[in-house]
Symmetry: none
Subunit: 189 residues, 4 copies
DNA sequence: GCATAATCGAGACGGTACGTCTTGTCTTAAC
DNA sequence: GTTAAGACAAGACGTACCGTCTCGATTATGC
């Protein structure tokens, strides 16, 4: 891709920054290609040249600032899981972060290609990290042998996601701890 | 509600039918108010008069055809849960039904009012039915006293929802059974 | 055309007025559909709904304000022709009027349909009026029988048009009179 | 002009040839700088380096292939004029040649500088040649002393130009002869 | 004959305008 | 008085060109 070599990094940054700024400030409906281009001081074509759709711009913008969740291994499985679940619940509960997640979720529902990218680039690494922590716990006999670890990860995150999207209850520390407890109960020998 | 008294039932039906037809046939992006009106042979104003946004039309259309899931109580908790989870997994796994769910999910993410309505009119009844079944089980000592039944319901549906939306694995009977098993493990005395 | 019955006359006027204003104020390159719409406080679609191209808007705007040249018949053929030619030369010589003529000419060269319309709606009536004056003169023996009156009209206007477009000499009263004289010389018995 | 010394003649030829080819093949609206560059296999900058605007490229392309009209002097003024007018009418009547003339005319209406260049480089030589022929005729008493020869030239070409641009009648030999006759009538002693 | 400086093809860039689409409101005529 | 039809203002869509700019890679002198 020799063309990409000519890509103007300044423009790229300006576009991603403008996208993040708009996501943070306004309704997602106002995060249009035109608004991004205007905010970034960039021609629309420069966006269309490098991304096929708005969702991909949003993804790339979010992917760059995503901090890989720190996954503790203190030896105390219960404490570690509580910490992970609390962090997740806090993220979904924060209206600010929640807005960008919402944006990305809308795009994923609309575009299968994008859904794959989001899954593989943003989510899988996080889910795999948790699964690895559970695998270590299983080695040490803290989890029953028959437990399906991928499913266990879904047991941890699925309910949070569900509650967030359906606004079906509070997203607070108490909820996080109760959830962690029930997941542990499902996994214990 | 005097206006409603004058409401033309034929138009209402035509609009909802057109909405369902478009949802089934085309991309959700093509399900526009204009397309619905044209398909239903109805003026756009007739839609705007009775619904505030497209999402509400979609919701009403889907609500009418939603069959309340039959919740068995055979006395065998494991069997009953497996059946419920299998039905849920099958519904999300069916591309046809999945399309309308996707449509509604997009609208919920965009419109808080609508999210409430969907939650209260479509989902809560189903979730409550499951919770009631679990409550009965708890009465009979099949579930430990400390279990949080609302959370238990989320443990059942959250992972399915998560996997569906993230396209993060197969949605089949085997998965349904494994999920039901883990949920039961979390609840048993 | 029942649809046309619904046409909003206010919008139509605003569009034509905005077009005339822009033609008078700016380079023709800046007379864009977007500029007209913005100036008229009108959606672009409202322009595209009623006109196929910019040239047609310009034509309609000009056609409405075109005053049918007063064609005198004083009995004195030479005086009458001088007056007509002087008026024509003055019009082409005036930078202001010249700008709109230039605009229309560009459009005619680009669009055959429009050229026909301009010819039939704006120009032919004027040319015919002159021909009729010449016909009256021929009746009275002031013009030789063999003269081709359509050609005579072209002899009067063609040189002015030619000189204007090629900027090939001054467009003043002296020139007008000389031209009128030569045309008369070509027609006299 | 040391820079010009480095000019790549191959590129220049490719650009002018591409321009002529596009003029001949497509609508003038499609004769863009980008299209010329692509067709010529040349960078856009190479065009902008040597010409200020598209019109100048078109002019240069046309100037190179313009054959200077042969102006006969058989001694028979009427025959000579008829021949010139016939040739002119034929050129404007030919759709092929007409297309390039149209292109150039559009540019002239848009760009005063270009208009001067076209007038001086392409048209004046032709008009002067005709005027010189008329001057010779006047020497021999075939034209009245008071005739304005520049105006006479305009009397010959103006009507053709007018009729062509307004599509106001046929451009054929019969017309040419009638025009020549009337012009002669205007000039005769 | 070698350095060096302008030219070259290519095409990214910030812009402007295009012509189309949909939104939600407003107007009209028919029933 | 509600309807179907659709005009309307607004504004985003994705595309096409504009004229400028930056890249390496040829040239073609002129030292």
């Amino acid at each position: 891709m020799p063309a990409a070599a000519r890509r103007n990094e300044q423009s790229r940054r300006a576009i991603l920054d403008a996208t993040l700024a708009l996501l943070a400030e306004t309704d997602y409906a106002k995060v249009t290609i035109e608004a991004i281009a205007a905010r970034a001081g960039v021609g629309k074509q420069t966006i269309y040249r490098w991304w096929r759709r708005k969702g991909e711009v949003v993804l790339e913008a979010l992917a760059e600032q995503a901090m890989p969740m720190a996954l503790p291994d203190s030896g105390d499985l219960e404490a570690d899981l509580r910490q992970v679940v609390r962090a997740t619940v806090a993220e979904f509960g924060d209206p600010r972060l929640s807005a960008t997640t919402r944006a990305l979720t809308v795009e994923m529902l609309t575009d299968d290609d994008l859904a794959e990218q989001v899954r593989d680039r943003l989510l899988r690494p996080q889910l795999h990290a948790v699964r690895d922590r559970l695998a270590a716990a299983r080695e040490q006999g803290q989890i029953r042998t028959g437990a399906d670890l991928d499913l266990a990860v879904e047991l941890m995150f699925g309910p949070v996601f569900h509650r967030w999207q359906l606004r079906n209850g509070p997203l607070d520390a108490e909820y996080a701890d109760a959830l962690a407890d029930h997941v542990l109960a499902a996994l214990r020998p």
